[in-house]
């Protein structure tokens, strides 16, 4: 009986022996709804993309209705805000020459969707519905000659869009560990 009073301690030690058990017990568990509401991350695979869809035709209307044109210009250029049209570089140019816009240089169209979803319109971020984000994404990709005008973008088709820079970017080094120089063999 006298060991019972140590039972909580024994249980605590037992749990601690497992890998990565909580040490401090501070903080609470968020609800599934809380996580869903906050989690706007979209991976290149698009696995978090919501249901919904849109086309360039719908996006063109929204581009005017939602005020995009007011800052970025009617044709995606000529406004106070950054241009949304790629530079005219000719057919054979490197995708790196297209400019830091949209992001046209992102290897995956999910990045375009994500940017519009999290960052636009200025002062009204987070107000666009998934359908609207798919539509505006489609319109801007159509403007930049990445997809056809009638292409339907949704959670299935968006990650498969062939962006100009799909295969010509370098991932961050996966060999890096703490205590290593920034580039092996580089003395500086």
């Amino acid at each position: 009986m006298r060991y019972l009073k140590f039972l909580p301690l024994l249980m605590f030690l037992g749990i601690s022996a497992q890998a990565q058990s909580p040490t401090y017990g501070v903080g609470r568990t968020p609800s599934t709804e809380e996580i869903r509401a906050w989690d706007i991350s979209i991976s290149p695979s698009g696995k978090e993309l919501p249901s919904g869809s849109g086309t360039a035709t719908e996006g063109e209307q929204l581009y005017l209705q939602k005020g995009c044109a007011g800052c970025h210009g009617i044709t995606g250029t000529g406004g106070l805000a950054p241009r949304l049209l790629k530079r005219d570089t000719g057919p054979s140019a490197s995708p790196w020459a297209l400019g830091r816009i949209l992001p046209i240089r992102a290897p995956y169209a999910t990045a375009v969707w994500d940017y519009i979803n999290r960052g636009m319109p200025l002062m009204a971020e987070g107000t666009l519905t998934p359908d609207e984000v798919y539509s505006i994404t489609a319109y801007l990709l159509y403007l930049n000659e990445v997809i056809a005008e009638d292409k339907v973008l949704n959670a299935e088709s968006l990650p498969k869009v062939e962006m100009p820079n799909r295969d010509t970017w370098a991932p961050l080094p996966d060999w890096w560990e703490p205590g290593m120089p920034r580039l092996l063999g580089y003395p500086y």
């Binding site: 990565q20 991976s43 370098a170």
Partner: protein
């Protein structure tokens, strides 16, 4: 005489006081009179007084004679036409010691940013994704956890000197160093229990654009801080109040401000802050992530003037993303010969480190440079060394790959004026 003065209120215009002031002025004038009289502990003030106010009692401010300010960086106005703050550079030319005052700490934003006005009572940090136990913390709960306080610099990838820059604020102002206090990110991640496949984190802010960065798990578990404190008080709003991530020694954009959410994931997420920093070649990608050994002379530096030949203490800042500064050398002959500078204070890992060298300027034209070595054995290169390493054609401008850690040359003319000597 002592007694007499004590009887009179300060500021009295009596003959005695005027006499005293005259003598004081004579003393201050260089001890050339041959006789030295004691000032008996009294020093005349040079001007008026600052009257106490409730505001100054509660939260002091610097002298009106101190005019050091930040400036917009990179040719884009801050604030811009939308009221967004863009890059803002710290006035390193007037810096002393290693701490950047919180009000003068550089600010970097990705597209330009509004500064959110966050009530810390309402603020939360969520950790979720590939973890055994998703967790949500209040600020109060974060403060209950074991804390650390460390000196760290943060430097923007845009901190690239060029020949058009005039001052050290323009060449190097997008780096700053503060004393940061918070919880180790590893403490929080262990508390949540990272699953085996969790190889990256995505850290996200709560500002209007919800800026987010992907960070490798090896770095996240090593030394990253979730900071609520900066230079002895709460993190400033422009620096992420009430909570920011700090990724020591890596490019500044990873140190996500207004931190609200950390998602453990199994791949690089190519998110908001990531794709703007994509590189075409893997060497550039690596050289853009961890910052190399770097230093710059802040005095004498561009646009300053030496009044004449004689003694000066050359002073500057050195830092490295690879750890602590191990050595700083200074050249006064354009890099032909080097003298080891003194490290002032302790060289902390991934922190600005003050160095100095005592120097007598002979009044002739010369070129000053500084060169930093870090504990990994890496050495700060000249622009010529970078060009040579990458076999760049000598007749072309040097292309600095990744984060720029090249040596900064300052040319001193015979009239004492100091100029950027990047060619």
């Amino acid at each position: 005489m002592t007694k007499k003065h004590k009887e009179k209120p300060t500021g009295s215009k009596s003959p005695d006081r005027r006499e005293f002031l005259k003598r004081g002025a004579a003393l201050a004038g260089g001890l050339s009179l041959g006789t030295v009289e004691s000032a008996i502990g009294q020093t005349p003030s040079s001007g008026g007084n600052v009257l106490g106010t409730q505001e100054l009692v509660e939260y002091g401010k610097r002298s009106r004679f101190e005019t050091s300010v930040r400036i917009p960086h990179g040719g884009r106005p801050s604030p811009d036409a939308f009221g967004l703050d863009f890059h803002i550079a710290a006035p390193l030319q007037e810096s002393v010691g290693v701490i950047t005052p919180s009000s003068l700490h550089y600010m970097g934003t990705t597209r330009g940013s509004f500064v959110p006005d966050i009530d810390p009572e309402e603020h939360r940090l969520m950790i979720h994704g590939m973890v055994d136990r998703p967790l949500i913390f209040t600020m109060e709960e974060l403060r209950r956890l074991p804390s650390v306080t460390r000196l760290h610099f943060i430097e923007c990838a845009g901190n690239r000197a060029n020949r058009r820059h005039k001052t050290v604020q323009e060449t190097h102002g997008m780096t700053s160093c503060a004393e940061w206090t918070g919880v180790l990110l590893s403490t929080l991640l262990k508390e949540a229990g990272v699953q085996d496949d969790g190889s990256w984190i995505v850290a996200e802010g709560v500002e209007e654009v919800k800026g987010a960065s992907s960070i490798p798990m090896a770095k996240a578990m090593e030394d990253c801080l979730v900071c609520y404190g900066m230079n002895g008080e709460a993190v400033r709003p422009q620096q992420g109040y009430p909570l920011r991530l700090l990724v020591p020694g890596f490019e500044g954009i990873l140190s996500v401000k207004w931190l609200r959410r950390i998602k453990v994931v199994d791949q690089f997420y190519m998110t908001y802050n990531d794709y703007g920093h994509l590189r075409q070649e893997s060497d550039d990608a690596a050289l853009s992530m961890q910052i190399g050994p770097k230093s710059v002379i802040t005095f004498p530096s561009g646009e300053q003037t030496l009044p004449g030949p004689g003694f000066y203490e050359i002073s500057g800042l050195a830092w490295s993303g690879g750890g602590a500064v191990s050595k700083v050398e200074v050249s006064t002959d354009g890099g032909r010969s080097w003298a080891e500078a003194e490290i002032r204070g302790t060289a902390h890992p991934m922190a600005h480190t003050r160095f100095s060298l005592q120097w007598n300027w002979n009044g002739q034209e010369c070129e000053l440079q500084s060169r930093c070595s870090d504990e990994l054995g890496s050495v700060q290169p000249s622009r010529a060394q970078i060009a040579e390493f990458w076999n760049q054609p000598p007749d072309q401008p040097v292309r600095i790959r990744g984060q720029d850690n090249s040596i900064q040359p300052w040319r001193i003319e015979s009239d004492g004026s100091v100029h950027n000597a990047i060619s």
